[in-house]
Symmetry: C2
Subunit: 145 residues, 2 copies
DNA sequence: TATCAAACGATAACTTTTATCGTTTACAAT
DNA sequence: ATTGTAAACGATAAAAGTTATCGTTTGATA
């Protein structure tokens, strides 16, 4: 047994991922980045250490990390913009199993927020809530197994 | 004074938008669409009524409608995927002007939700909240104009 | 060390969105 | 109603973001 802290090697072992130089640097760079970097931003930083790295490698490994839970995807990516006419304030229930999206009214959600401004002087226009969970039909399916 | 219900003409007048045939059909078609259509899906439907309409017109008017508040954008569009390493539970403040994303803790958000299940038997795992608004720096910028 | 699947780099292709530009149309002011 | 003008339209090129392809290189296991 080596050091007590979890190394990148350990992390990869946990998730059954091969340890490559590119992945290691990618991981270290991302850990050192504040905020919510885009793949291009990550790419620019990693190139400082591995000038020959390909953008495709950055994309492939970001996906790999997201899928294995090493890091989290911030913006839900539907591949394109989506719009809706429904002008009654409502939010969305997203099934983590089957990815179905259903609407839910603000009142039914039982959500209370009266704030107009938030820390940092952020002026609130509206809230967009995604409730992540398991829909009724996926729950039934789980019980029959 | 004509009919009591609000016509598309009235809506345009309210927002200072010119009434064109394309916009009228676009609006009617979107009102008749369930769910969260993408621009391509809207385009396909509108073409049934105006085969010569351009996809660019659909995009331009969707943006116009969103900006003027006639309809709402569902998926926040940051232009690209974003990721984060932060594994502490938190939500996001997204500036509708400059698209900047800042973290906000669950406690600071002052959000109350005790529900474990929601209508339709949806089992809640977690909430993902995007607060849409104007960040402090964009507010300052707006005041200087 | 040798083997082989997996990962890499380079780049083409694809998808989504925006910009450009000549033509057409809506609006208001005659 | 006619006309002038700014705005909107259609066609399409270009940009931005992402994914797929494929020959070469590398990591993991034996």
């Amino acid at each position: 047994m080596q050091a007590a802290h979890k190394t990148f090697r350990d992390l990869c072992a946990e998730h059954g991922i091969a340890v490559t130089h590119q992945r290691q640097i990618l991981y270290e760079v991302m850990q050192g980045m504040e905020g919510h970097p885009s793949p291009e931003e990550v790419y620019a930083r990693v190139r400082e250490q591995i000038p020959s790295i390909s953008l495709a490698t950055v994309y492939k490994n970001i996906h790999l990390f997201v899928e294995s839970g090493v890091l989290r995807e911030v913006s839900l990516h539907h591949g394109s913009i989506r719009v809706e006419m429904n002008d009654v304030a409502h939010h969305h229930m997203v099934c983590s199993h089957c990815k179905a999206i259903a609407d839910i009214g603000e009142a039914e959600l039982g959500l209370e927020t009266k704030r107009r401004t938030l820390p940092g002087g952020f002026l609130v226009e509206r809230f967009s809530v995604d409730v992540i969970g398991i829909c009724a039909s996926c729950q039934r399916e789980a019980q029959n197994n």
